[in-house]
Subunit: 315 residues, 2 copies
Amino acid sequence: MIPATLIALDWGTSNLRASLLGDDGRLLESRSAPGGVMAVQDGRFAEALFALCGDWIASHDCPLIASGMIGSRQGWREAPYLPCPATLASAATCLTTLEIESPQHPAAKPRLHIAPGLQCIDEQGEFDVMRGEETQIWGAALQGERCCVLPGTHSKWAWLRGAGEISRFATFMTGELYGLLTRHGILGRLMQFDDRPDALRLDEFSRGVELGLARHDRLSHTVFAARTAGLMGKVTAAGLPDYLSGILIGAEIGAATQTEVPPDPITLIGDDALCRRYEIALHLRGLACVRAPDGTTTRGQWLLAMAAGLVGTAR
Amino acid sequence: MIPATLIALDWGTSNLRASLLGDDGRLLESRSAPGGVMAVQDGRFAEALFALCGDWIASHDCPLIASGMIGSRQGWREAPYLPCPATLASAATCLTTLEIESPQHPAAKPRLHIAPGLQCIDEQGEFDVMRGEETQIWGAALQGERCCVLPGTHSKWAWLRGAGEISRFATFMTGELYGLLTRHGILGRLMQFDDRPDALRLDEFSRGVELGLARHDRLSHTVFAARTAGLMGKVTAAGLPDYLSGILIGAEIGAATQTEVPPDPITLIGDDALCRRYEIALHLRGLACVRAPDGTTTRGQWLLAMAAGLVGTAR
């Protein structure tokens, strides 16, 4: 058996993903289960963890590190929000550590280290927060003036400088708004959905992006175009979902880049189909972008564990 | 029995409200039922109508006029969208008329006249539509340069000139977004709701309005403040619903007034509790407003019926 040095947990709202890492941080094995924070009942986080990787814990005398919503108030133990500007080194000094006990595995008492979230305050005095994305960003190991976009339910735009210092960031509820408007709202009633995850109607999506970019300053009005375009026969029922997706992504990009054009190219971190939409939309905004390589979460967790001295310090 | 001259139907998505009007347009009786367009199955609109006011139809040999979603594609008969600029006189020339038949009342074959909706095209070539609000606006009998706001699920801002000519309008999905975000979204999870319809936490609402006014240009980001303010203890769980309501209403007002400050005072048409929120928010934007008197829908329907020659022409 190859000796493992770290068990890295990407523990979000819906899913728990576990990675077993070797002494150079390379991936030995990975597993996942729908054991996210919202799926675990009555605080039975230890149970969910041992169910997924109790055998790893029993076989390898190594620490565990976790990032994501597991450190939220609804998670296992609330981890603090580190104020921006924040670096991986500063995050490594404020991991929240707990000793895990399991009735089924009384001998195994490994230590779990939960990464802090980040907070920032904008010029209006409004807070913003992230949990988990900071670890992905650090996993991308970016240098110098950069802008990172992590598309998703709550998209994050992070501005970096120096050696991976996150100076500020902003959240856009783009994915959640799309889900709410299509699944529960009146806009969805005119729509016909394509269930293939990679399906994308480029023409309708692009038209939506152009509208969202131009009209991000009045989004609660702009999204109504996804109804009127359907009523007036300007966009087909099958094209309306991507038209709305384009409006929302365009509005996000328009808003995020209105006062400051990010340093080129923007780094995209996220799932392939969603990053493709952002690539198209950023291009329509005249902005170049690159994709971060896969595995940023695990890589960030490994770097965090190294900086905290949990694993060998040799890079 | 006082002779009736018109049965006026305010037939929307959720409700059917019927008013029996005398020869001077004064209200003789009114009734309502949850027989809105979405509640009527299999196109049984005649059944819903006769259930609510079959006795009126049998007793009074008078026409019926209807406005609202009953004229939509999902309604009884699709009525056209009249292009803006539009006047009450032009709407009166394009009522959609049908003869009603009921198996239960074979002798009664009254004519139902459905008001057209309105459409307009903005400078970007995007359509907007309304159905029902145009009749309310005409019922307010405004003269000259005016701006009218009808708060609701889909708020409408209409600009008028001359003798009640609606030159253009814009829809904001403010009420729907509030409902989706609080009932189905993550923001609602931190919130504690007050079920009293008139409850309003003025301080939190006003803070939300100020934020929405300042940050209407990035709404999908701005609404996230209703999560972070809760997480950071800046707004209590009980204050968060009104904080979000303020953000959305503030963003609507900020967006609607950013390129053109409406002629003062703005006329508000709608239910009392909601209009009160808009009064407060418009005041924070430095704009004066007045309330239209109650009964604008019925008054507009009466004026429309007069202009169409369905009832006596003497005013």
